[in-house]
């Protein structure tokens, strides 16, 4: 199916309602948060979460339809998608950079209120060589299995592609479960001085990104099962793999600086 607007390799999309519903959903999320804080009523927030989720499902469903079923993702289009994903991940790197800045700001020169020491007086930190080290091994292994899946896809080895991508998703879920357990068992909370703030905000946002990455990989596993990916063309999978490697690298920085050096 060639482009319906002249003889060029680019994709001029059909009219779509999702940018509008996405914008309205974002307003519902933010206004809903404010309404929850001021009037103790989370109804608008919950409606915003559902509307945002529906928008995301339908928008990405439509992109899959345009690429896989209609064949509109030419080489030129794929290059644009690659740049888009690279720029998005770069923005996420900058997002985490700010939390690392906050951590080092407080930990390199601990103020008198925390006891002029780091970790602050009275904070019982996690042993970096227990669950955090296991989590490091899990994410590193998942980086290897997602690379295995990529090579399997490129070699048209469907069985191994399914197996390795499934293992990657399971490892991601294992990490999330272990981290949730750590959060539950933690002897300090987010309110325990700037240590608690920097620890839970940085690891919390990282955990959210692990959940997002695991979801992205799960969708790819489903698409792989449905034979959407060919040996030469599987950008959705590549984007998920890039995102997963980014999540892995952020964890390595978290582990080295907050868990190990800061512990």
């Amino acid at each position: 199916m060639t482009s319906s607007h002249g003889h060029h390799a680019f994709h001029l999309v059909d009219m779509s309602p999702w940018p509008l519903t996405g914008s309205i959903s974002a307003m519902m999320l933010t206004t809903g948060l404010v309404k929850w804080f001021h009037q103790f009523n989370p109804d608008l927030l919950f409606l915003g979460i559902i509307a945002t989720t529906l928008t995301m499902i339908q928008w990405w469903r439509d992109i899959t339809r345009e690429g896989t079923y209609q064949g509109l993702h030419t080489k030129a289009v794929t290059i644009g998608l690659r740049w888009g994903m690279i720029l998005f991940i770069t923005s996420e790197v900058l997002f985490f950079f700010s939390f690392f800045w906050a951590f080092f700001h407080s930990s390199l020169s601990p103020n008198v209120e925390v006891g002029s020491c780091w970790p602050p007086a009275g904070i019982q930190t996690f042993n970096p060589f227990q669950i955090p080290l296991l989590n490091t091994a899990i994410l590193l292994a998942s980086g290897a299995t997602v690379t295995w899946a990529h090579h399997a896809i490129m070699e048209s080895n469907h069985t191994q592609a399914i197996q390795s991508l499934a293992i990657t998703v399971l490892l991601g879920m294992y990490f999330t479960a272990l981290q949730a357990l750590e959060y539950y068992e933690a002897p300090f909370t987010i309110a325990d001085s700037v240590y608690g703030s920097t620890f839970f905000v940085a690891t919390g946002f990282h955990g959210l990104h692990v959940i997002i990455g695991s979801t992205f990989l799960s969708v790819c596993l489903y698409r792989l099962y449905k034979c959407h990916f060919s040996a030469m063309h599987h950008f959705g999978f590549e984007a998920a793999a890039w995102y997963w490697h980014f999540v892995d690298v952020v964890w390595l920085f978290l582990y080295i600086s907050i868990y190990w050096w800061g512990g």
Binding site: M1, V13, D14, M15, S16, P17, W18, L20, T21, I24, S25, M27, M28, T31, G32, V34, K35, H38, Q39, D43, L44, L47, G48, I50, A51, L54, T55, I57, Q58, D62, R65, E66, T68, Y69, Q70, G71, S156, N157, H158, T159, K226, C227, H228, S230, A231
Partner: protein, 112 residues
């Protein structure tokens, strides 16, 4: 197949015939395989031969390539309309809720 060429004094394959008409591809001499040569079949790995699109995927491709002027977000069938309707309703209710909240918060109530 080789033939003696007086011009070169050697055995050589026959020359490609220059076609009489423009656009006709010249056919070279066919490859003669030794008798008993076996040819490999298209290899099938995993769920089958990947040079073919599986039936269920081909059906989807046909459905979404029908020239019926239906936009992509509704082209999958009645479930698309249901989901789109639900999203629209939620956004309308939500937008009204936001505006009502802004109005409410604009007039702080005095608590006695």
């Amino acid at each position: 197949m080789y033939e003696w060429k007086n011009s070169t004094g050697r055995l050589s394959t026959p020359a490609v015939q220059t076609p009489a008409r423009l656009g006709v591809a010249a056919e070279g001499p066919g490859i003669i395989y030794p008798s008993g040569t076996t040819f490999p079949k298209e290899s099938a790995r995993g769920r089958g031969n990947f040079s073919e699109v599986p039936g269920f995927l081909a059906q989807k491709m046909q459905m979404f390539q029908k020239a019926n002027s239906v936009p992509i977000h509704l082209k999958g069938g009645p479930l698309d309309k249901v989901l789109f309707g639900a999203t629209l309703v939620m956004c309308t209710v939500g937008l009204t809720g936001c505006l009502s909240f802004f109005y409410d918060m604009s007039f702080p109530k005095k608590s006695d």
